[in-house]
């Protein structure tokens, strides 16, 4: 007679039903937490590591980032008479070491994370796409 136990009152099921009903009727603090991605985006943390950016005026093209990159992602290339890093995003693991080792604080990482592309070649971000102009402090 194992079935004559507490189970036949179905209290477990009824308690569960009450919990789910509270979710359906939005009783209490039960917000919908989904972010509808292409239409709305989550707020990023300031330390988020996305696509690189290189300060055009600060960078001296020393190549320390190239040496320190664990994946060999960075290459120093010539761009308008000066030398700047070129980043292959397809190999990058966004560790941020290049930012840490830069002696001039020229390298930084932005919040841009929508980097999917159609070919491996277009994942190589040259100085033309990485450089930004920061006002030189007098």
């Amino acid at each position: 007679m194992a079935w004559i136990s507490k189970d036949w009152t179905m209290t477990g099921i009824i308690k569960g039903l009450i919990v789910t009903l509270k979710h359906v009727l939005r009783i209490g603090d039960r917000p919908t937490v989904t972010v509808q991605y292409p239409y709305e985006k989550m707020k990023l943390q300031p330390r988020f590591r996305g696509l690189h950016a290189v300060d055009e005026n600060a960078c001296i093209g020393c190549g320390i980032c190239e040496v320190n990159c664990p994946n060999g992602t960075i290459q120093i290339v010539k761009h308008n008479t000066k030398w700047y890093p070129q980043v292959n995003i397809g190999m990058c693991m966004f560790c941020g070491i290049c930012v840490d080792v830069c002696p001039m604080n020229a390298m930084k990482m932005t919040g841009n994370y929508e980097l999917a592309d159609y070919s491996r070649e277009s994942l190589i971000y040259g100085p033309d796409r990485l450089l930004f102009n920061k006002e030189v402090k007098q």
Binding site: G16, V24, P31, V33, T34
Partner: protein, 368 residues
């Protein structure tokens, strides 16, 4: 109050004044039965289109209810609040390749989706959707419904066997075991209702539930038969094959149960049949226990509006039962197959028999 929709349509046509000219035209040609056939075909077409639209809406509703329980949005992109998602699903499924496995029994494999889909629609023939909104008031309506529902295990077994796949066969065997064990308490608790009405006709069952006791309790059989209602509800959820009794397609054990090998439009037919079954079973629960289309407190509606109002009342009650099934699905986990059969044979059937016995005793002794 008309016996069925045919008479209602004839009355409306007469009211507009076009029934006699059309009838005379056909009588002149000597084929007056053609008009009757046309009217019946139109009725059935309207019913099936209504059922299919409801079923499409139900797939959307299920996803929305699951999403609300799980603090998500559910489908949101296609149409307002994702309302056109079923249409997109249908378009996608029509575009899919129709694969028949190499070692499958082709003829039975192709026949099974139709055999499960057509009974799911035929169940609606003797169901009263509202006052005089019934295709045909069979005097064995309830027996017809239970008999037609009993075809679906055969179709499931055909699908599982013809797929030539271990998961399909296991799912089909489980589904048949489940359906057979739960049809018995289902029929027994329905018979307890029939003892009160003395008729198997669904219209008689609904009219027996109109009116109130003491002016405020509606005369629904749920108050006379609370145990019968619970047994019927549990048995019909098991018949539908929904969580907590979804052994025929338990995803974590058998890939998709008996329709593992199906793709494209055949898969869609199984899917639609599942939701048509959900709708029909909820409609049967409403008809038997919740008073069908009868409204106890609104006896002052103008007679012309009664079919529309009763249709609305019927749909509200049916959607309440459907919501309960979805709500239960989102709450409880799946049982084990031995627990299912234990509950079915050791608890449900004895309780249903006791319920029948007590009902018969009360009716014989006291004339309730």
């Amino acid at each position: 109050m008309f016996a069925n929709t045919y008479e209602l349509i004839v009355f409306i046509l007469n009211f507009i004044g076009i029934y006699n000219p059309i009838n005379d035209f056909f009588k002149m040609l000597g084929i007056e039965y053609v008009l009757r056939i046309i009217i019946v075909l139109v009725e059935i077409a309207v019913l099936f289109v209504f059922i299919l639209l409801t079923v499409m809406f139900l797939t959307w509703m299920e996803r929305k209810v699951v999403a609300m329980v799980q603090a998500r949005y559910g489908p949101m992109v296609t149409g307002p609040r994702g309302l056109l998602q079923p249409v997109m699903d249908g378009v996608k499924l029509i575009g899919k390749e129709d694969i028949i496995p190499a070692k499958a029994d082709r003829w039975i494999f192709t026949l099974a989706p139709f055999l499960i889909f057509i009974p799911a629609l035929l169940v609606f023939i003797p169901l009263p959707f509202g006052e005089s909104l019934i295709i045909s008031d069979l005097n064995v309506g309830l027996l017809y419904i239970i008999a037609i529902s009993a075809i679906s295990p055969i179709a499931i077994l055909m699908a599982g066997w013809a797929s030539n796949n271990k998961y399909s066969l296991m799912g089909a065997v489980r589904a048949v075991a489940q359906d057979i064990s739960y049809t018995i308490p289902l029929a027994l608790s329905a018979i307890a209702v029939v003892l009160y009405t003395g008729s198997l006709s669904t219209v008689d069952i609904v009219t027996a539930q109109s009116g109130t006791w003491f002016g405020f309790i509606p005369k629904w059989f749920i108050f006379l038969q609370p145990l019968g209602f619970i047994l019927f509800l549990i048995a019909s959820i098991a018949e539908m094959g929904r969580i907590p009794f979804d052994f025929q397609e338990s995803e974590s054990e058998l890939v998709a149960g008996f329709f593992t090998e199906y793709s494209g439009m055949k898969f869609a037919m199984f899917f639609l049949a599942e939701y048509a079954h959900l709708f029909s079973v909820s409609a049967i629960v409403v008809t038997l226990f919740l008073g069908g289309w009868s409204v106890p407190f609104l006896s002052f509606i103008p007679a012309a509006l009664v079919p529309l109002v009763s249709l609305g009342v019927f749909l509200v009650k049916t959607y309440a039962i459907i919501f309960f099934a979805m709500w239960l699905r989102d709450t409880v986990p799946r049982m084990r197959i031995d627990q299912l059969l234990k509950i079915g044979w050791k608890i449900m059937i004895p309780l249903a028999l006791i319920n029948l016995l007590v009902t018969a005793f009360i009716l014989t002794a006291g004339r309730f």
